[in-house]
Every structure is written in structure tokens, then in C-alpha cells.
């Protein structure tokens, strides 16, 4: 391997400059890959413990009021096979939402990686919440077996102008703990992915929670200013914001 190649791994978490034999990968890399895949497979199935998440949000982010809810997916197996179940609240949970008048409903949900929520949701909210001093917030909803679109039903039921879903992204080999954030203006059942924006890969080593909070806040402000979210809202100002 040329000298320049052997140093490539310094610059990216990607699997560059791999040891090989012939045109194939060397044993060490094949086994390392299999291990990473095994870890990611396991991450999909670890459950999110809502009471301890609520406690940490209180202690570390000053969140006094949370609602702990479930979707219509009774277990992980059905959640994986039928995403529609994860987009709908369970009947018992729906009755717990009281319609009010809020600027923003924040939802924290396991998605496909409870690990992502456990590691990064509290830090992201601890950075974001102080920026939202002028926003009237609904009680923060904590949710298991959930998909992004459940935020539409929750935002609508709470009477919020905007929803923000923080949710575990599907685990990758090198990062089983990436969190995604999805702001949606005027959340209502029936909104599509084109109606939301997405801040992805929130984790240490990716987009760190503090920087993610700044980015999310930018989207929220723009959504409020323009009265919309999704593909119509471009984030041209983000680079300047992050560099300032």
C-alpha cells in the first residue's frame, strides 16, 4: 500500500485503506465487519426504558413534565413488519393527550435505535430548550415502538403549531446510536416526508448534540417565520450559522 493510502483512516470513519489479499478482504477485516453487523443487529432489539429517560430529562435538561406513551405496535416484531402501527398512538395513549395552544410539541421516540435516544436525546434537548424561551412548549412526549409520522398525530392532538420528533435512526455498522430530528410545521395526520425537514446523524463523532440543537433551532425559527417546513424550506443559512 502506498504511504499516502495507509494514513487515509485519519480523515474519515469510513472503512478506507482496508487490508486485502488478492482482490479480496483480509481475514481481520472480514471478521471485524461481521462483529459490527452483529452489534447493529442487537441494537435494533434493545428496548427503551421511558421512566429512566424521564428522570434524566428532569435532572439534566430541567424538563419537569413528560408524558410516557405507546404506539399501536404491541411488540418489536410487529413494529418491524408493520410500520403503520408505529405511526399511530395506542388507544390508551391517545386519551392522555389534552388539546391546548402550543407553539411546539417535542416527541422523543425509540425508532430503530433506543441506544441513540439514551445517548444523545438528553444532551440535544439540554442545548435546545434554553433557545426556545419564547416558544410555548407542550409537555414532552416520550414514546416507544414509534415511527417519525406519529409526531403528526401527537402535534395535532396537542394543538401545536409545530412538532419536533427526536428519534433513533436505523443503526449503521459504524454507528448504532445515531439520532434524527424531524421538525414539521402544522403537524396533522396525512403529512408526508416532503412536509418535514431532517437533521440526521446526531451523535458524538457525527453531528454533536450542541451543533444539532443550533441546526434544529434554525429550522424551527424558519418554519415559524415562513409558516412551512419540508422541501420548500432550504437551509442555506446553516453553514454561516455553524461557522459563526
Amino acid at each position: 500500500m502506498p504511504q499516502a493510502l495507509s494514513t487515509l483512516r485519519r480523515y474519515t470513519p469510513a472503512r478506507v485503506a482496508l487490508p486485502s489479499t488478492g482482490v479480496s478482504l483480509a481475514t481481520s477485516e472480514v471478521l471485524a465487519f461481521q462483529l459490527a453487523h452483529a452489534q447493529a443487529r442487537d441494537a435494533v432489539h434493545v428496548p427503551l426504558h421511558l421512566p429512566s429517560l424521564a428522570l434524566r430529562l428532569q435532572q439534566e435538561a430541567g424538563v419537569s413534565q413528560t408524558l410516557q406513551l405507546t404506539t399501536s405496535a404491541p411488540d418489536r416484531a410487529q413494529y418491524l413488519r408493520n410500520p403503520g402501527l408505529g405511526r399511530k398512538l395506542s388507544d390508551a395513549s391517545r386519551t392522555q393527550l389534552v388539546h391546548g395552544s402550543y407553539d411546539l410539541a417535542i416527541i422523543v421516540a425509540d425508532g430503530l435505535s433506543a441506544l441513540a435516544v439514551e445517548r444523545h436525546a438528553v444532551d440535544t434537548l439540554a442545548a435546545l430548550l434554553p433557545m426556545l424561551a419564547e416558544w410555548t412548549l407542550a409537555p414532552i412526549v416520550l414514546l416507544t415502538q414509534a415511527r417519525v409520522a406519529v409526531g403528526d398525530e401527537i402535534g395535532e392532538a396537542l394543538g401545536a403549531k409545530c412538532s419536533l420528533v427526536l428519534i433513533g435512526e436505523r443503526p449503521g455498522l459504524s454507528s448504532a446510536d445515531s439520532l434524527g430530528a424531524y421538525p414539521t410545521w402544522d403537524p396533522r395526520v396525512g403529512k408526508t416526508d416532503a412536509d418535514r425537514n431532517c437533521v440526521s446523524n446526531i451523535r458524538y463523532g457525527g453531528l454533536e448534540p450542541k451543533a444539532a440543537a443550533a441546526k434544529i433551532f434554525w429550522y424551527l425559527q424558519e418554519a415559524k417565520r415562513l409558516g412551512l417546513s419540508g422541501t420548500a424550506l432550504k437551509d442555506g443559512g446553516i453553514v454561516e450559522l455553524l461557522n459563526s
Binding site: 453487523h37 435494533v44 418491524l80 436505523r170 449503521g172
Partner: protein, 456 residues
């Protein structure tokens, strides 16, 4: 019209063409999720027998999604070429399968047929084909496209170099580009999925690819796979964009969920032509079974028929590249390695028969029941079927999109076992002084050039 079949005294009836197509589809989780799959294995076999007896012409008389409601249906109907259809116009779907596999159906004959066929006809016949049929018939059809490289020639296998980075860090992306180029990857396109969809990042990444390409005289194309409107904004700001990318689907409503219309794609295509950086083939599309259902926009169709309809959208623009991202969407649509394998081969065959330069992102996610062995199997079969290109991702692990695709090494394996070569222009470049100069470079060289030449 009677849509039914009797087996041992039991008659299986099908409501309409859409129902028949869905029930004749080999088992996959997405059709079960949509509630359109056959309820038993025998019902599926009966549907396949009924479908085999159906005249191909039926598809010209009956629409699956109403003409008035859906611009993809209108596109399919309005662009149908009766003269091209003539050679097969008297066949049934089953007869069409036999004919496709016969010696009469040479590559040249099949190429002439493309605009005479509708996506629904092609989806229908594929449902009667085993995977070896999909390989054998797919292999006959050569669809060649050109920009700086010539892609899809016999005996060639190209790759999209996919140097994604979780935070769009230009040095990190350059490191993956360097690794890939030196392992012979990138002759189809250097295509980056940005972590964040914004104009600034899109323009910066396009400048990076362009500067490296120019400095090392690499015959390839640039693409940043942001939303089409973001790319159009980048073009307006002078970014050096070669290929316009967009994800597309097979219904108007599914495309709306991607935030696109045909008019928008027309506009983007016109902008790319105006740039004058390439010839005829200026677009890059990605598709994948399940995208319509995931947007609740499938109109009761099975996911493979929806997918074939997306190819009608693609071929309107004579794209350089089209690939299905076959296992990306997850186990609710393609549950395991077996379902992913079949879907990948179906998509390749259907796309080629409809006249598209098909590639495939051979891939899976960590919540699907699949692993590297399944990918090796699909990769090897697609290579045998003559796939135009596959992906090249460092170590098969996309650290931004969080899924496993094919690696630079996978492409080298396939080229070696099947005796395939890269695109001719790229093959010559790999043997040139430019490539040896690149092997001395570091990612810092690459990006230093990019920012010095093209400071925003």
C-alpha cells in the same frame, strides 16, 4: 373479461388486473403489508396461470391507475409506441415469457421493443419468471449510455463511487474518493449523498469532485444526490454539476411525497441540457420497491408493478444511470435475503427491457434478515445478468446512510470472476500517469486544490 383459473374443481377469481398482478407476485412482505398479496401459495399459482393466459394487449385497454388521476399513467399511455409493440402484440403474457427466452428474441430485437412495452406488461411477465429467467433474458439486453465514460458495454462493469461522510466533511469525502479511485471505482459517477440537503453543501461537494476530476484528468461524472430543487439552485449559483439526480416512484402521489412532479423533472432536465457539460444522457435516477406503499400512494398495486412504472418516468429523460436501491427500504417491504435477491433481479430485468441503463445498489439494512452472504449471491447473479453498474462504498459500510452496500473490493471480485472490465475510458485512465500521480496524493492535496480553485 374473465380473470380466473380453476385448479382441481376450485375456481380462483380475481377482481381486476391489479388484483391479478398482485396475487401473481412471488411472496414479499410489502405486498402482505399492503394487504394485496395472495392469501395462499395455491392462490398465487392460480393467479400466475391466469396471468399467463392473458393477452398482452389487455394492458393497453385497461389501466391500473386511472388516466385522469395520475400523470405517470398518462405518461405511460401517451408515450406507448404501437409500431414497436407489433412484434409481440398477439402474445399472451405466458407466451411472451417463452418468446423472451427463445433464440428469436435477440438483444437487438429486444432493444427495438422497449417503447412498445408498458411497465405493467413487463412487470406481469417477470412474475412468471424464475431468477434464472430474469438473468438469461436480462443478459441479452444491452443499454449503453455515455457522458465522459461509456457505460453498459458488453464485458464491462462500472461502479458509482459513493464516498459519503456523516457530516459532509470534504477531507473525509476526499479520503474515500481517493481510496475508491485507486481501487478502480468511480467510472459510472462519483456520487455523494449529502448528510444535509442544502445548496451550499451541494455546491461545495460538486466543486470538490470537479477539481479532483480535472486535476487528475479522470474520465467520470459528478453528482450530489440532494433534492432536485437543491441541485437546480446549485446550478443557478454556478456549481459544476454533471448529472441531475432524483429519487423517483411509479405514481404521481408517490412522486409528490418526494416533492417532485414530471414538470419539475422536465425543468431540471432542461437546465442540465443548457449547461452543455455532456451529451444526451444527463440524469441519474434511483428507485426501489416499496417507496409508493411507504407514501401510501400505491393505489392497491403490488410494489413490483409500482416499481416498473417508475421506469416509465426514468426513460422519459434518457438517463445516464438508473439503479434500484433494492434492500434499502427495510424488512417491511423485502423481508430477507431471498426477497431482496429476487427483487434485485426483477428490477434489473424490467428496467433493461423498458430500455434503461440499469444498475443496482445491492444492499440491506441492519433490521432486515440479510447479511453479506446474501449480497454476494445477488452481486454475482447481477454480474451474470450484465448489470451496468453497482455501488462502490468503502468496506461496504455507508457511514452516512447507515446501510450496507457493495464495496470497492466486491466490484474487483466480480470483475475478476466474470472477466469484466471498467468502462473503456476509465480502464485507460487507470493505466495512465494520471492515476499513478493520484496514488501519491493525500486527501489534503485533493481538497486544497478544490478550495484554492473555487473559493465560494
Amino acid at each position: 373479461m374473465q380473470l380466473q383459473h380453476t385448479i382441481g374443481g376450485m375456481t380462483y377469481s380475481f377482481r381486476d388486473l391489479k388484483d391479478l398482478l398482485a396475487k401473481a407476485t412471488p411472496l414479499r412482505s410489502g405486498d402482505e403489508l399492503a394487504g394485496v398479496a395472495a392469501s395462499s401459495a395455491v392462490e398465487r399459482a392460480a393467479a400466475q396461470m391466469a396471468l399467463a393466459d392473458l393477452p398482452l394487449r389487455t394492458f393497453l385497454k385497461e389501466t391500473i391507475v386511472p388516466y385522469e388521476e395520475d400523470e405517470v399513467t398518462r405518461l405511460i399511455a401517451d408515450s406507448h409506441d404501437p409500431a414497436a409493440f407489433a412484434p409481440v402484440s398477439s402474445l399472451t403474457v405466458g407466451g411472451f415469457r417463452d418468446w423472451l427466452l427463445s433464440d428469436e428474441a435477440t438483444g437487438e430485437v429486444l432493444s427495438g421493443l422497449a417503447f412498445g412495452l408498458t411497465p405493467e406488461m413487463v412487470a406481469a411477465v417477470s412474475k412468471l419468471m424464475r431468477v434464472q429467467d430474469l438473468v438469461a433474458a436480462g443478459r441479452k439486453i444491452q443499454v449503453v449510455s455515455r457522458f465522459r465514460t461509456t457505460i453498459g458495454l458488453a464485458g464491462r462493469l462500472s461502479t458509482r463511487l459513493q464516498p459519503n461522510h456523516p457530516t459532509d466533511d470534504v477531507i473525509g469525502i476526499a479520503a474515500s474518493m481517493l481510496d475508491g479511485l485507486l481501487l478502480g471505482s468511480g467510472d459510472a459517477v462519483i456520487g455523494i449523498n449529502p448528510a444535509t440537503d442544502n445548496v451550499e453543501t451541494t455546491a461545495t461537494l460538486l466543486r470538490l469532485i470537479d477539481a479532483v476530476r480535472e486535476r487528475y484528468a479522470i474520465p467520470t461524472q459528478s453528482c450530489v444526490l440532494a433534492h432536485v430543487t437543491t441541485q437546480m439552485a446549485a446550478i443557478e449559483r454556478g456549481a459544476p454539476l454533471d448529472l441531475v439526480f432524483q429519487s423517483i416512484a411509479g405514481t404521481e402521489k408517490a412522486n409528490a411525497s418526494f416533492g417532485i412532479t414530471l414538470a419539475m423533472l422536465d425543468e431540471a432536465h432542461a437546465m442540465a441540457r443548457e449547461l452543455g457539460r455532456g451529451g444526451e444522457n444527463l440524469m441519474y435516477f434511483e428507485t426501489g420497491q416499496g417507496s409508493a406503499l411507504s407514501a401510501d400512494a400505491h393505489h392497491g398495486m403490488d410494489q413490483q408493478t409500482c416499481e416498473a412504472r417508475a421506469y416509465a418516468v426514468a426513460r422519459r429523460y434518457k438517463p445516464l444511470l438508473v439503479n434500484t436501491v433494492v434492500g434499502f427500504i427495510g424488512p417491511e417491504y423485502l423481508y430477507d435475503g431471498k426477497q431482496i435477491l429476487r427483487a434485485g433481479l426483477e428490477d434489473h430485468f424490467c428496467g433493461k427491457l423498458l430500455g434503461l441503463p440499469m444498475g443496482c445498489d445491492v444492499c440491506y439494512t441492519n433490521h432486515a434478515e440479510a447479511d453479506q452472504d446474501d449480497m454476494d449471491t445477488l452481486l454475482t447473479m447481477l454480474g451474470t445478468a450484465g448489470v451496468n453498474y453497482i455501488m462502490g462504498v468503502p468496506g461496504a459500510d455507508d457511514v452516512m446512510l447507515q446501510y450496507q452496500s457493495t464495496s470497492f473490493h466486491d466490484a474487483l471480485y466480480l470483475r475478476q470472476v466474470l472477466g469484466l472490465k471498467p468502462a473503456p475510458e476509465f480502464e485507460a485512465w487507470l493505466a495512465s500517469d494520471h492515476a499513478s500521480r493520484l496514488s501519491e496524493a493525500s486527501p489534503l492535496h485533493l481538497t486544497a486544490g478544490a478550495s484554492a480553485c473555487h473559493k465560494l
